[in-house]
Symmetry: C2
Subunit: 144 residues, 2 copies
């Protein structure tokens, strides 16, 4: 008998999966409404680095604190839904260091020509990874 089960992934496994893909979605609040934007990313020293024209909106702290965002990436089969997803919650900050900016701009190409964009560093606080798998449950000879 086949069952579908959601298995939790460790923080290390989750960050490794994230570094294996180039794209995810940053989740933030804009004009007091939930907002989401697909972006590409690199992982550097355990932080998620993204490049987006929404940099100012994403990192705008309402009350002087750092902005809290979520970041999600997944590889899920659209038909059987098997695969993994990783969801991170953490602080987002604009990157100001010139050396970092030069380095990350080389790694992250802009999606659109001729737009102004920013680099953002997301430091993971909560990391939730899960993988949906199918497994065969052993059925004994006396089971129905």
């Amino acid at each position: 008998m086949n069952e579908r089960e959601l298995r939790r992934l460790s923080r290390e496994e989750s960050l490794r999966l994230l570094s294996d893909v180039a794209m995810g979605r940053v989740v933030f609040t804009m004009h007091a409404l939930p907002a989401i934007q697909p972006v590409n990313h690199v992982i550097d020293g355990g932080d998620i680095i993204i490049r987006t024209h929404l940099g100012a909106a994403i990192t705008m702290a309402v009350d002087g604190h750092d902005a809290v965002v979520a970041y999600e990436a997944d590889a899920i089969d659209p038909d059987d839904h098997l695969g993994w997803s990783v969801i991170i919650v953490g602080m987002a900050r604009l990157i100001h260091d010139e050396g970092d900016i030069t380095r990350y701009r080389r790694l992250l190409r802009p999606w659109v020509s001729g737009t102004t964009d920013h680099l953002i560093r997301i430091r993971p606080e909560l990391v939730t990874g899960s993988r949906l798998v199918i497994f065969s449950r052993a059925v004994g000879p006396k089971d129905p």
Copy 2:
């Protein structure tokens, strides 16, 4: 010369693209933090119907009002980033009508065996669709 340009899609085109795919991500607030969950969906009468074990958390109104959520789906090439994304902001409500529940449960299969889940209707208020394209800019003989 090839330029990359983000083209805005109409509301109708955006909802059509959404109905062509089976999966998206619902964005909401949980414990005062930004939250996101991959789910599958059907479009019915212009509304987005999703099925998730996070039903109570997603539709929990903090102050007696309906919960405002975002919903995102995309088909973006991980290498060249060409493709489309649709982002919707709207009100989310638990579905209580027994007929609707029976119908939507047939259309939306649970991802995990043996979990309790809810059906949610998201009524789109804001619909933002965009498509990233490459186009060749005509270069005249006198242009550099």
